[in-house]
Amino acid sequence: MALTETDVRGIAEYARIALDTDELAEMTAYLNDAVAMLDPILEYADADVEPTFHPIGDLANVVRADAADAGRSLPIDEALKDAASTRGRSFRVPSILGEGGDC
């Protein structure tokens, strides 16, 4: 069943990408074309094989001691230099809840 603009509005909210009316129509058309292109993959849904999630089969998580590594830590000034908005030693963001503006 084809995706509607209402569906795509919900996906955009999930993806945190604001779309205007024109973009919503264009994105809906695109997603329906793109999903149709994926049809050949559905033949594999019931294939009697294990899925392969990664080319390196025995990949393991890399863990280290839960301690700061000074050699790999950025100085605060460096960490903040690419942020559009900072305050003191922190990144500055608007209100997280509601519409309280800057915080």
Partner: protein, 497 residues
């Protein structure tokens, strides 16, 4: 004196070591070539002249002091703009990162610099590597040096064009679905996607974490082998959990020849709809050449390859959606001002920071990972990945390597493929390797008799048999000649003083 574009990376390094010219002269010649050629080609987003000249001065000082020089001493290098180099901007050709200044250096870049390369600058790409033409750059398109009205391929189009134009001898690209091999084909240079895990991805902006791999472009097979040595010789990178030990000398068996080797061709791929006759004939000539040099050419089957594009456009967007979630406009990147709350700031920053194709891919990924859809597509795609990987494993029980096209056609004109789903089909011959993880190399075969544009073949080997790929590629280079600089660019600036 010579023109910088008449020398391979190996010849430049040898000339610097022998004192025929200094690394500083090389840097100046390369920067001059960029100055004279790049207004038309548009490969570069940023020229790092100071960094290149400083690196060159260090090499010249080392030589003057009698110190041993590294293997790529004085070789001009272009770096795809999704790779961090401290002191430069790393934009991914996106407004999202237009002013982002790297705070560290990617391992792959550092290794090339440690090997003596001069960082001439950062080169153009499709935004966040989403594309096959470099038309998706937020800043400007890159033109194919062989025909400026045509695209260089993508997403590493700047990397391929800078080498084809003779602006640099080597460049780095990244390949998630063909983004090294397809632009190498369009621009008539050698481009290698190593086996997944062979080259560290630390410091490379991630697109598809189970698919991305960094690799080199050059005009000769030897240059690409030298770059592979630089990228892998220091061993696995502890900063990348997927990095693998790959201790081989890629230059050691370049001229071993192909006598007794078994090379597979896949009839279904040679008869595929959309394969240009001139490309098919070129690949057939390559097969005949390998046979003439002593290889045995046999037919093999890869029966599940028809699912590769669909599998890729499930796995790639899903991984891209996860990876690009980090661009929220807070710690770095474009930030929308005066928003009511954090959610609105994120949504508007991402809406205005990302370009059209970047938004499309993320939206597709978000849809495919959403409840109820995930089970239907994502598992099916990963099962197809199993089948495609098995196909290759079975084929490599019969043959040592597989020969196939790298791209279905020669470079197309700007704007010619405006439908994104049609554009996706240009990666028909490259995508399956990213799914399976093994390495491939695009080798130029001269010019197509219909278009007059570069044509190529792709060689594919089992995982971590990348050195053998270079031996086959060298055999084709001997037969078809090394990649020339695009004629319109050759000797246009860049004389060694």
């Amino acid at each position: 004196m010579a023109w910088i574009d008449s020398l391979s990376a190996a010849q430049i390094a040898a000339g610097v070591v022998a004192g025929e010219f200094g690394a500083t002269e090389v840097a100046r010649a390369s920067l001059d070539a960029v100055e004279c050629r790049d207004a038309e080609v548009g490969a570069f987003l940023q020229v790092s002249a100071d960094a290149a000249l400083e690196a060159a001065a260090r090499i010249d000082a080392s030589r003057a002091a009698g110190d041993p020089l590294p293997p790529l001493a004085g070789v001009p290098l272009a770096i795809k703009d999704n790779m961090n180099l401290a002191g430069t901007r790393t934009t991914c050709a996106s407004q999202m990162l237009a002013s982002y200044e790297s705070v560290y250096t990617a391992t792959c870049v550092q290794r090339m610099l440690d090997a003596g390369c001069l960082p001439i600058g950062k080169v153009n790409m499709d935004e966040f590597a989403f594309g096959s033409s470099t038309e998706n750059s937020a800043f400007h398109p890159t033109n194919n040096p062989w025909d400026l009205e045509r695209v260089p391929g993508g997403s590493s189009g700047g990397s391929a064009a800078a080498v084809a134009a003779g602006e640099v001898a080597l460049s780095l690209g990244s390949d998630t679905g063909g983004s090294i091999r397809q632009p190498a084909s369009f621009c008539g240079v050698v481009g290698m996607k190593p086996t997944y895990g062979a080259v560290s991805r630390y410091g490379v902006v991630a697109f598809g974490s189970s698919l991305d791999q960094v690799g080199p472009f050059g005009r000769t097979v030897e240059d690409v082998a030298l770059a592979m040595n630089a990228l892998t010789a220091p061993g696995r990178d502890p900063l990348d959990g997927t990095s693998q030990e790959f201790a081989v000398d890629f230059c050691e068996h370049l001229d071993d020849g192909v006598t007794g080797r078994r090379v597979g061709v896949v009839p279904a791929l040679m008869e595929a709809e959309g394969l240009a006759p001139e490309v098919r004939r070129a690949v057939e000539r390559a097969a005949a050449q390998l046979e003439q040099q002593g290889a045995q050419v046999v037919e093999v089957e890869l029966p599940h390859l028809d699912a590769a594009i669909a599998a890729y456009y499930v796995i790639g967007p899903a991984e891209a959606f996860s990876n690009l979630a980090r661009f929220d406009g807070i710690r770095y990147g474009y930030q929308e001002e005066d928003c009511a709350n954090l959610a609105q700031q994120s949504a508007l920053s991402r809406a205005h920071g990302f370009g059209r194709e970047a938004k499309r891919r993320q939206m597709l990924g978000a849809y495919l990972l959403s409840s109820g859809v995930y089970d239907k597509y994502y598992y099916a795609a990963q099962k197809a990945r199993t089948m495609i990987t098995r196909d290759y494993a079975r084929a490599f029980e019969q043959v040592d390597a597989i020969l196939m096209p790298a791209a279905p056609r020669t470079a197309f004109k700007h704007g010619e493929l405006s439908d994104p789903t049609q554009m996706y089909l240009s990666d028909l011959y490259t995508i399956s390797l990213n799914i399976a993880g093994n390495g491939g190399i695009s080798v130029p075969l001269g010019l197509g008799e219909d278009s007059g544009l570069p044509v190529s073949a792709q060689l594919v080997a089992p995982a971590f048999h990348d050195r053998e790929l270079l031996t086959y590629a060298r055999a084709l280079e001997v037969a078809f000649g090394a990649a020339p600089v695009a004629p319109a660019c050759a000797q246009k600036g860049g004389e060694l003083a």
